[in-house]
């Protein structure tokens, strides 16, 4: 007979722990099933002494467990004490392999074959997934490990590292200091790793410090108690089986995302996006009745949110009515509305007025509104101006707004009314605002930050579809044919479809037949032509521009090869539909013709000075195709005084966010290691407290609510984010000059910072913020005595590259 409970909780992360503790507190029969040997495995695996933050600070904590910002050890100790205090029924090493719904509850199958029965199930397994094991016999031998805490722990051993990803390479290189290391690569090369790691591993292999088995997989592991080494790895290599005796095997094979397991429990995901999470109701119930999802798996990555949900979900299961923890915060948001609605009324009004948000769940809407602001601008007030670099999204809750699409003609306006939205262009292209928007009468707007909008687009298919459709029409209208009436564009827009290109992929080849026009939606392109056997780059095409009109107008073949400089999305417009439009619209024909002439002239210039093209392809290779503002140094002028670095450190708490000397050089153009303020910043991708933002002038900056998790540092492909603690303050200029007090201007200083309990420094991510708090602009450029340091945006590449000529 299986054990029976009222509530079974799967996963002892913050959400699961809190749910179990609350159930225990209320005396409800429960069991907490944890796959590993300790609570909160994800947090347990953080590095020693890591500081855990308690964001969002505005949200009150309502869990039965204590939680404050502290280091990893303190947090875990608090929780361990908490579960003892509440007498939580926790079972360790109880991995759940399947959950089946019965008529009156659920059967939970455990890995050891047992079954647990419960009336309701709370799933709080997070998104980290289970560590991927070798999947061969011997995968659980004592010397086979799936993690490496301290490489210096091992000395003089023969160690096999399996896995050719960044983690495997970093482990192998660190272990090679004191051990004989063999790395096993399933493929015949190292791909999908950071460039630094790639160079590192290839150098180590070349130097003979690490032996590499390419195209090899581990067949099985055998213990050899009588031999010199404790075990032998049997490897399936390209040339047959190889037996390698070793002391230790470290497998770094990543984790299995929990999605398949979750789907096997009949829980539905909204789409196939790998980042998608299942949608849940306002009471955290999934599409399976009685099966609840909390924490990161429900789309709430922050510890405090998860702790609150654990408490709430138990209340909901018991049928209690509970005001959500965010209720007072939402009430505050709606207080400016004339009708003074309750939160429920306000949310209903939003869904009634805005078709875009009508289809999402109440919980999604609450979350959406929690991140958003309700604005009631006065009539005539500018909401954003053309060329602003903001990237928020606006939904019109009431009233109307006026859109000025033309840069110069302020009288031509388009009116958008209640239920419509705007701001999607910058959201999708990552570029400056393409129009000025003014508030109309009775205007009430919901302003939503980029991340919340992106999250919603990912998790709600209808929202994505509507935004994409509107984007297509508006993009064609504003970027191609601003003066053409909308009804003339219908046919062309109907022919439009979004195409995606990986970095380096070819859109069309020189000599191809021309059948389409490509409008760059995000990313950027280069156009090149082969001259005398060499490829000469003719132009750089940033998002918001189009290519391919030359061949269409000239009725000839493509005269250049167009490639994606970075991962790029284009809108492909049918060539025939475009030609028909041109026949109907003489003004448009003139405009396109003018651009055509301009390109012809430029191409001739570029063919004449191939060096300029070479500099462009160098810059594109450095990933500048996705930059919005990049620091470049003209080495013919740079006197290597490092005043730029000093200025950066002095204006930013003592840590320079740029490394002048590091980075590649071509001709006299040097690209120092410094933030490029990407159009779609990689660092923003996975920031739990949403601390990374883009400000009005385009700068991507990290706000004070950074929790120091280091995700952005890992996600940045250009290595421009550092984790740093605040150093001590420095003496004034005169005190240093006259009395030698402490380090002087621009001199190195010790980083001390506040000490967290365990002695670890409380570090935060720091990066270039383009000196957004300084009135004069970036201090690196203003501190350069010779004019060598300059900041360039992609539009200026062409003029900047004259440097090379």
């Amino acid at each position: 007979m299986a054990e029976q409970y009222k509530i079974a909780i799967v996963g002892s992360g913050p959400a699961g722990l809190s749910a179990a503790a609350h159930a225990a507190e209320l005396g409800v029969s429960h069991v907490l099933l944890e796959a590993s040997e300790q609570i909160s495995n994800t947090i347990f695996r953080y590095q020693k002494g890591k500081f855990v933050m308690a964001e969002p600070s505005v949200l009150p904590l309502r869990a039965p467990l204590e939680f404050t910002a502290a280091n990893r050890e303190t947090v875990l100790e608090l929780w361990n004490k908490g579960i003892k205090f509440h007498n939580v029924g926790i079972r360790y090493q109880a991995e759940v392999t399947g959950i089946e719904a019965r008529t009156d509850g659920f059967d939970l199958r455990l890995k050891n074959g047992e079954t647990v029965q419960a009336e309701a199930v709370v799933l709080g397994i997070g998104l980290q997934g289970n560590i991927r094991k070798l999947g061969v016999s011997g995968e659980d031998l004592p010397q086979v490990q799936y993690q490496l805490d301290d490489p210096r722990e091992y000395d003089g051993e023969t160690i096999i590292v399996v896995g050719a990803g960044d983690a495997g390479i970093e482990n192998a290189v660190a272990l090679a200091e004191q051990n004989t290391v063999i790395i096993i690569n399933r493929k015949d090369e190292f791909d999908r790793v950071k460039e630094g790691n790639l160079n590192l591993i290839l150098q180590h292999i070349k130097d003979g410090k690490i032996e590499c088995y390419y195209s090899t997989q581990v067949g099985r592991m055998e213990a050899t108690p009588d031999a010199e080494k404790p075990m032998v790895a049997v490897l399936n290599t390209a040339n047959g089986e190889a037996h390698v005796p070793c002391d230790r095997l470290i497998a770094r094979l990543g984790a299995i995302p929990p999605r398949r397991f979750v789907e096997a429990c009949s829980i539905e995901f909204p789409n196939n996006d790998p980042a998608a999470v299942p949608s849940v109701s306002a009471t955290y119930e999934s599409n399976v009745k009685g099966l609840y999802i909390v924490g990161a798996l429900a789309g709430y990555p922050l510890i405090k949110q998860a702790l609150n949900q654990g408490y709430e979900v138990v209340e909901f299961i018991l049928g209690h009515d509970l005001e959500p923890a965010d209720e007072p915060l939402l009430r505050e948001k709606f207080k400016n509305l004339k009708q003074r609605p309750s939160v429920t009324e306000a949310l209903a009004m939003i869904q009634g007025n805005c078709p875009l948000l009508a289809g999402i769940t109440t919980l999604q809407l609450r979350e959406f509104m929690l991140d958003s602001e309700v604005r009631t601008p006065r009539e005539g007030e500018t909401i954003f101006a053309i060329d602003d670099y903001t990237d928020t999204f606006y939904t019109i809750l009431d009233g109307e707004v006026q859109v000025q699409v033309h840069r110069d003609d302020h009288r031509q306006r388009i009116t958008l009314r209640r239920g419509q939205f705007f701001g999607e262009m910058s959201l999708i292209s990552g570029r400056r605002r393409s129009a000025t928007v003014l508030a109309g009468p009775g205007c009430v707007l919901i302003e939503t930050p980029r991340r919340s909008m992106t999250k919603l687009i990912k998790s709600a298919e209808p929202v994505k579809r509507v935004i994409d459709e509107v984007f297509l029409l508006r993009a064609v209208q504003s970027q191609l044919a601003p003066n053409t009436p909308v009804e003339h564009l219908t046919e062309l827009v109907k022919s439009a479809r979004v195409e995606r290109f990986a970095a380096g992929a070819v859109l069309f080849q020189e000599g191809d037949d021309a059948d389409c026009l490509q409008l760059v939606r995000s990313g950027s392109l280069t156009a090149a032509r082969t001259l005398g056997g060499r490829e000469v780059v003719l132009s750089y095409i940033p998002a918001g521009n189009y290519v391919g009109e030359m061949a269409l107008l000239g009725e000839s073949k493509r005269n250049a090869t167009v490639r994606a400089a970075v991962a790029t999305e284009t809108i492909r417009l049918d060539g025939e539909a475009f030609k028909t439009l041109l026949e109907r619209d003489a003004t448009l024909r003139e405009q396109v013709e003018a651009k055509y002439q301009q390109r012809l002239a430029q191409n001739v210039r570029m063919e004449d000075s191939p060096e300029t093209g070479n500099v462009i392809s160098f810059l594109v290779q450095q990933g500048l195709g996705e930059a919005s503002d990049v620091l470049l140094i003209d080495e013919a002028l740079c006197v290597r005084c490092n005043n730029c670095e000093s200025a950066c450190a002095e204006t930013h708490d003592g840590t320079s966010r740029l490394n002048r000397e590091a980075g590649p050089t071509y001709a006299s153009v040097h690209v120092p290691t410094s933030c490029r303020h990407c159009e779609h910043p990689h660092c923003m991708k996975d920031c739990p407290p949403d601390a990374i933002h883009r400000a009005g002038n385009g700068e991507v900056y990290i706000a004070d609510n950074c929790i120091g998790c280091g995700n952005c540092q890992r996600n940045c492909p250009y290595g421009v984010i550092q984790m740093a603690a605040k150093p001590d303050s420095k003496p004034g200029l005169l005190a240093w000059l006259l009395f030698g007090a402490g380090p002087g201007p621009g001199q190195a200083k010790k980083q001390q910072g506040k000490k967290a309990d365990g002695g670890a420094l409380q570090k935060h991510a720091v990066k270039c913020d383009m000196c957004r708090d300084l009135p004069g602009g970036p201090s690196c450029v203003r501190a350069c005595p010779t004019g060598a340091a300059i900041r360039v945006s992609p539009e200026d590449f062409m003029s900047f590259t004259n440097l090379a000529g």
Binding site: E635, T665, G746, P785, G787
Partner: protein, 276 residues
């Protein structure tokens, strides 16, 4: 959109400096003082005051450069103005003297000023010439990368020497342990080291190679290649240090002499007023 400090703002400060020089020269030619021209006439005092203020302002660059939050122009603009107004100062101060020199504190102040300006002119020359040469010499590599390659060659040399005799091993060890980059000011400026341990090692290896048994000829040759390669990289690193030294050295004259000038200037002004 991007220009060197000499071209800054379409030569705005060159134009200003020329204007000042023309005005000063015109006034000097037009002015007919009682007796010989000197610092004591109304024009002499005017030129002297302008000159003294210029000196104070020119020295303020050292402070402005370190005021990283300042919004008072850019450092590039300040440098541009510093260069052109500093050159104008030479003319203005010379006219202030009325070409009357002697063995006194006044002429000392003038001489110090000329020395400062001359060192500054060298500085402008160095800033225009050496950055380009330095970039070319580095062949798109950072100095750290160059040093990394040298360290890597050291390791390869030691590996290559393992099968060879003790003398060669000692030479290789000498090369990897005693080779120095940088050093004294003269060493840095000279761009080479007459007692370079690597050059010595190379010589010793080549000499002992003459009586190497044929079986060991291959590793010896490999060692010679490696040491040659290292010498080449060392030469490049020393060249890099030399260029940097050329760009830095003048500041060690320019700045201390500026302070000496300031002291002499104060003495000059005070004594002028005491002996009115």
């Amino acid at each position: 959109m991007h220009q060197a400090f000499l071209v800054y703002n379409r030569f705005r400060y060159l134009k200003l400096a020329l204007l000042m020089v023309i005005a000063a020269v015109t006034a000097y030619v037009w002015h007919k003082p009682a007796g010989l021209p000197n610092g004591g006439t109304w024009l002499g005092y005017t030129l002297g005051t302008v000159g003294a203020l210029l000196i104070l302002w020119l020295m303020w660059l050292g402070v402005r450069k370190r005021r990283y939050r300042s919004t008072l122009g850019t450092v590039e603009g300040w440098t541009s103005a510093h260069v052109y107004l500093g050159l104008a100062l030479l003319v203005i101060a010379t006219l202030h003297t009325g070409f009357r020199f002697g063995l006194n504190i006044h002429t000392l102040a003038y001489a110090l000023m000329v020395a400062v300006i001359l060192s500054g002119i060298y500085g402008v020359y160095a800033y225009m010439r050496y950055p380009g040469l330095m970039t070319e010499n580095r062949r798109a590599k950072a100095l750290d990368a160059l040093l990394g390659e040298i360290a890597e060659l050291d390791r390869e040399c030691r590996d290559a020497a393992l099968t060879l005799n003790d003398e060669i091993n000692r030479a290789v060890l000498h090369s990897s342990e005693d080779t120095q980059l940088g050093g004294s000011m003269w060493r840095q400026l000279s761009g080479h080291d007459p007692h370079c341990a690597t050059a010595e090692a190379l010589q010793r290896v080549q000499e002992s190679a003459k009586h190497t048994p044929p079986a060991l000829a291959a590793p010896t040759r490999r060692l010679v290649v490696l040491l040659n390669r290292k010498s080449e990289l060392l030469a490049r690193a020393r060249k890099d240090i030399q260029y940097k030294a050329y760009m830095d050295i003048w500041l060690y004259v320019h700045v201390p002499l500026s302070f000496a000038l300031l002291a002499a200037l104060i003495a000059h002004i005070v004594s002028e007023f005491i002996y009115w």
